[in-house]
Amino acid sequence: MKAAVFRAFLLLSLAVGFVTLGALLYDVFSKGLPLLDGRLLTGLPSSLAEEAGARPAIFATIEMGLLLIAFVVPIGVGTAIYLEEYANKERWYNRLLEVNIANLAAVPSIVYGILGLAFLVRGLGLGRVLLAGAMILTLLVLPTVIIAAREAIRAVPSSIREGAYALGATRWQVVWRQVLPAALPGIATGAILALSRALGETAPLIMIGALTYVPFNPTLLGEFTALPVQIYDWIGQPGDDFRALAAAGIIVLLGIVLTLNAVAILLRNRYQKRW
């Protein structure tokens, strides 16, 4: 009897999450789908709900995504290579580096926003620009990419490295020609998951001033707003029409984020090598 009640409680716990997920998706789609049309995707924002579109926001999100990948993959993989292949793990500074990365991974995203506000926008004088947004998002997801890349590199068996060294390859040749190609699927999965998370982030972008009225296409060094921020803006506007617009924007955002996640998981499953 007790066992049956316990099992029921367990299933209930699972149900809470999934029922909520279902309700959320239903709510968003039922309110937003009617508004998911060309105007939303290609139109400019406006103070009138009937005319508002999210094109600048969508473009900015895509541009930031591309910049993010260009920044975070070299730096993240480079750090991972350093820690796994080059660093002497006994040294205190390398241990500190590892601890530091683990801590950064758990810092709330709004603190990265504060960092951006203090240094990039005001300190470096970049201003509230798209490039600053991309840089802050890079720093935000960098620890996750480093950790994922390290795991992928570590999974490459040492017998392959030994074989390559024994043939007279230098350290970099071993890394570039044997380790990285073998670790590539794992690294790609980690990068795509990081991208997916970054594109959904709102708080750091708010802090660096993305919450503005941007009725033009974003440029690298110009004012910008991103899709999650646009959604937040619309939620805050009075009236049901803007709420429905927000729901439509959410559908687009979810589409982007969940597609990226699916791609990452497919990649992981397809290329998961059994050594």
Partner: protein, 287 residues
């Protein structure tokens, strides 16, 4: 220089070979490839092998045998400086390669490894096409000339060319265990080394694959010097010209370390060893 004879199959054949076999004085007439002088290798202060001295001669197969834990792998990895990759490893003593200090301050381990190749216990082909496995060494070392020819020549020497010549683009992992190991040998040969180190090359293979590797070794020793670690005494008896027997000793503070007990022509080690420890090991009394 002893000729490459077929390994003896019957006791009668073995007796004949023993009587006409060379002694250690004959072997010493060959050129010395490695002069090992009082070498001790420690990991974080614990000596894995202590005070080993011997000479390795050209175009011979030299076997290193002994019970597990006596440092055979550690010893063989000194010759191509693979122990450099372990930060906690320290080596004392000297190893001279054709008269040059292998661990000299200006010596580049990459150059060392190009001349002294290695085949590992478990075959470790790269997860790439067969062609790229063999071509890897020449590519990273920027060897001139036709890559295709080098690859073919190496695979021929490793007695693998006929098996794979039609499927060079296939992934190396699709080969059988024995074929993979011969691929690893071809890979090592492709960089034109002088010496080939083999760390228990056949211990992960079935008997048929093993005997093919042993036949290969007989062929290869005409052109290369071979140093093989094996825990299989019969294998040492079959292939090696000279055999070094290592055993485990106690250190001053109660730890264990590997030491060289006896080094002689193979038939003497197995039929008439000078040291009692050797005799105990080869007759199976321990180890």
């Amino acid at each position: 220089m002893p000729e490459a004879k077929a390994p003896p199959v019957t006791i009668a054949e073995m007796n004949v070979q023993i009587q006409s076999a060379p002694g250690m004085e004959d072997l010493r007439k060959n050129e010395v490839v490695f002069d090992v002088d009082d070498v001790t290798v420690s990991y974080e202060g614990d000596p894995a092998i202590s005070n080993v001295s011997l000479d390795v001669y050209k175009n011979l197969i030299t076997a290193i045998i002994g019970p597990s834990g006596c440092g055979k792998s550690t010893f063989i990895r000194c010759f191509n400086r693979m122990n450099d990759l372990i930060p906690s490893a320290e080596i004392d003593g000297h190893i001279e390669y054709h008269g040059e200090d292998l661990y000299g301050p200006k010596v580049d381990p990459v150059e060392v490894r190009q001349r002294i190749g290695m085949v590992f216990q478990k075959p470790n082909p790269f997860p790439k096409p067969i062609y790229d496995n063999v071509a890897f060494g020449p590519r990273v070392l920027n060897m001139p000339g036709s890559l295709d020819e080098r690859v073919q020549h190496a695979l021929e020497q490793a007695a693998l060319w006929d098996d794979v010549k039609d499927r060079l683009k296939r992934n190396a992992l699709s080969l059988s265990g024995g074929q993979q190991q011969r691929l690893c040998i071809a890979r090592a040969l492709a960089v034109e080394p002088d010496v080939i180190l083999m760390d228990e090359p056949a211990s992960a293979l079935d008997p048929i694959a093993t005997s093919r590797i042993e036949d290969l070794m007989h062929d290869l020793k005409r052109n290369y010097t071979i140093l093989i670690v094996t825990h299989n005494m019969q294998q040492a008896a079959r292939v090696a010209d000279a055999t070094a027997f290592f055993s485990v000793d106690r250190t001053e503070d109660g730890g264990r370390t590997g030491v060289l007990v006896e080094y002689d022509v193979t038939h003497k080690i197995f039929t008439n060893p000078s040291d009692k420890r050797t005799e105990d090991y080869v007759t199976g009394r321990f180890g």
